[in-house]
Symmetry: C4
Subunit: 279 residues, 4 copies
């Protein structure tokens, strides 16, 4: 493990800390507002990327972003790299047109407009996950089978899960949300919901915090797997209804950090030796 | 590995030993009855938590408890933490109202009433597992598809697996068994069985010993996976009948410890170098 | 890794070697015929046990045996222990009544009669695997759905896979083949085939060599998974017919050792540094 | 890790480098054209073999080849060994009749004619993967269920996936493509497509580069799993149509290397410490 990695792991263990030194936040421009200046959110984004890979939500593709805590008209996301490989130095800032603030020659994700347009449309959203979550894709291509909440941990699905078909917005495409027009169409389909499926592509998940968006992305995948297995049993199924979903969703506000802590420890290699009174 | 962890692993290897020292059982009150004074059961509870995580029965959520061997009106369970992270120092004692004996400011599980009310109702029960066992949840939401024993290792299911629907007890809720009334309703549904499913939530598994409860929780998950696959083949299925289940269940009394030993070695890192004449 | 383990790994790497010293083959009686005197087969049995665990064919239960190369009226099998934990010192010799030759107080498997009666009935059989192979159990309880060969690697299934229902032999039991009468009934159902399913229990797989029996056990599991997925697609399926199965089966005689070598390296920790001209 | 392995890992990290020294490229004949003289492609072939094993496309069987960059009438492929164990020294050159250029006594794959005849028929193909990809086999034996593109990452399937039934070419066989006649029949079925299924056997995947062939092989497996799960939901499904497939396929030309880099780092053990500005 290199020094930067070790420092990052230490920061994650401590629950976020100011990163310093030459390699991370290594200069004047970035440290003074032209880039990702808020170190705890950077460390959490790195953890979020690796958690999503470790939990099987993303593979070589997919990305997670967070609204800049210091500037609501910006969001933070890695350069174009596989999520499992993201380090703090990969995190870049973008404005709501998807333009990088300080590109320094780094390649950016083509589909950053997914993030930009959702942040523009939804002031309540502080984090966005886009993935090709493998158990979820079937529901995006089965127009008669809505994704439903099978248990309380996926309560955020009970309010409904819309499906975005890019064909309705733009005809035959390469399926990618590669400009602001397509990003706005997706954001419109998402509406005020937590999750929208993307036909022939994957899904997008949002949250009021980064840990909550990651939590929802993981349990959207888990719930899809459970629902598929339940449907294969045959016979009618009883899903959470809207009222149960709303009440159970509030309970998640309190307990989702238990999962986030576990996942974060796992990707930072600290799972084997937790401090006994750590929270 | 920290010293405490190493000591714990050594104890697990030896099949249980008295834990000593400042960090575990570090004081007068706990050692003299106000807390989890029985060290072998504490070490087994830590192993049980980690086994259930390692075997895929629990994720960041779920909990396992054991009745206090020294006081049948108390049970032992970890503070509110992901099962994979539990250490001996996290184990707390509760009375049968779910009140912690020596809280010391530690957060406790909201759903401890599942455990408390089952211990109150069932003198034969010495251990309880509550989980969101992923292959089991489908059976909880498919009211026409009972969980059945597909093979002798899951014989304890042959007597029947009731389904608890919290809606019948309390209308639209957040699905959580968060008080004694709900705990009693769940215990009433469980009756004298080994397993009860919880609609839109998970399941609860009990046993006459901690290793047996863990064994049943693991094979309830495995059996659910097998039954789902068998049902997908189409055509009629032949499950164990009640008499086969009763007889095969008695055989498990003798052999379940073979699995428990394997699982315990795996989570304590001792699986690679077993002593040849260890039991 | 203990010295014995290291020596064993070295032997496995070298493709079998004479084990010596005090701990393995440590005495007069065993080395002179009262016990497992043939060291290469002992090392292969240890590897076979660990391979079957590593490949998901066995869990805490299941066992593999080999006919004693030096005495066709004896077979070698471990004491009663989880297959992943077997070491050379655990291997015991049994006669064809299932009686251990040199028990030395070690616990033996209740179902050793599966092995004993198949060796008695089938002179061509040199190795037997009994498991609760999880993807295979569904086919044992679905009387209208025969297990078929979906591809050439599972060609040995094309001759037919009988199903043993212990109820036909003995009425309601604990499902265990716990005596010679039940063992003979199972051997009769197996007939001249490579695999027999056991209703509500698992299966038994035999082979003309130990690597071939292990190979067949692994690909019976893989094939069951593939067939289940193929049946879920709906529509008719084209399996290997008897002639294709017979021809493809002969090809396996030549190539199955490629898999055995891979699996053996994996369980002995040698997979990462193979010698480039090792065979 | 042996020195050769370490050197190889270093080369892979650097994106390909000239291998030197006694063990790899250790002589005059090989270095001067009688064998695999192009070291970067050799290193990539080793990585490709291990990636396909790591991603679950191949097990002990299967093979990947690349057309020799320096001689279009030759291709490079390992000797007969499990893909996970391939090292640079195992890579051999073959002509388009499947004859090894410099055998040195090494065993070769029986089915090298799959590769030879596709390279002969398809000048655009620079790499070929043959596997028993487990989720794909069901589609090869279900003649009424074509494999379709469920999402843009598998766009290369949208042009159609033919099925090769060796029985149509040669009657009842051992299912193996063991000569040039069978190889040509398979190449004819493949036509100008990226993937052909092989009934009762597996599939073959081709690409204009080695990373693209590996990418397609991995996502053929992933797509088959997704399509199976989608079909199990019941109801109609919306797959990518031909125009979407063609457009999305072009987008893959740009982004598939992101996955290749991730997978390569994983099999070379470098995934945990990527350089922040490595590409």
């Amino acid at each position: 493990m290199r020094v930067v990695e070790a420092a990052l792991a230490a920061c994650l263990l401590l629950g976020g800390c100011v990163l310093w030194g030459a390699r991370i936040g290594d200069g004047s421009a970035r440290a003074q507002g032209a880039g990702p200046a808020d170190a705890p959110i950077v460390a959490d984004l790195v953890a979020a990327s690796r958690i999503l890979a470790d939990q099987g939500v993303v593979d070589g593709f997919g990305h997670v972003s967070a609204r800049d805590p210091g500037n609501p008209n910006r969001f933070l996301m890695s350069r174009s790299v596989a999520p499992a490989l993201v380090t703090a130095d990969d995190i870049m800032a973008f404005d709501l047109d998807g333009v990088p603030v300080d590109p320094r020659g780094r390649a950016v994700f083509l589909e950053r407009f997914i993030h930009a347009e959702i942040y523009r449309a939804r002031a309540d959203v502080k984090a966005v996950v886009h993935s090709h979550s493998p158990s979820v894709i079937p529901f995006g291509i089965a127009p008669q089978v809505p994704l439903r909440a099978t248990y309380h941990v996926a309560a955020f699905l009970a309010a409904g899960v819309p499906v975005f078909d890019i064909r309705a917005a733009a005809g035959a495409t390469d399926m990618l949300v590669r400009d602001a027009v397509l990003g706005r169409a997706l954001a419109a389909t998402l509406g005020d919901k937590a999750v929208a499926l993307m036909r022939g592509h994957g899904d997008v998940v949002v949250g009021p915090t980064l840990p909550m968006a990651v939590f929802r992305a993981v349990y959207t995948e888990v719930n899809a797997r459970i629902q598929s297995q339940a449907m294969a049993l045959g016979g009618p199924l009883t899903f959470l209804d809207a009222e149960e979903g709303e009440k159970a969703g509030r309970a998640l506000d309190q307990i989702h950090l238990r999962a986030w802590e576990l996942w974060k420890r796992k990707v930072t290699g600290a799972a084997q030796a937790p401090a006994p009174h750590d929270r």
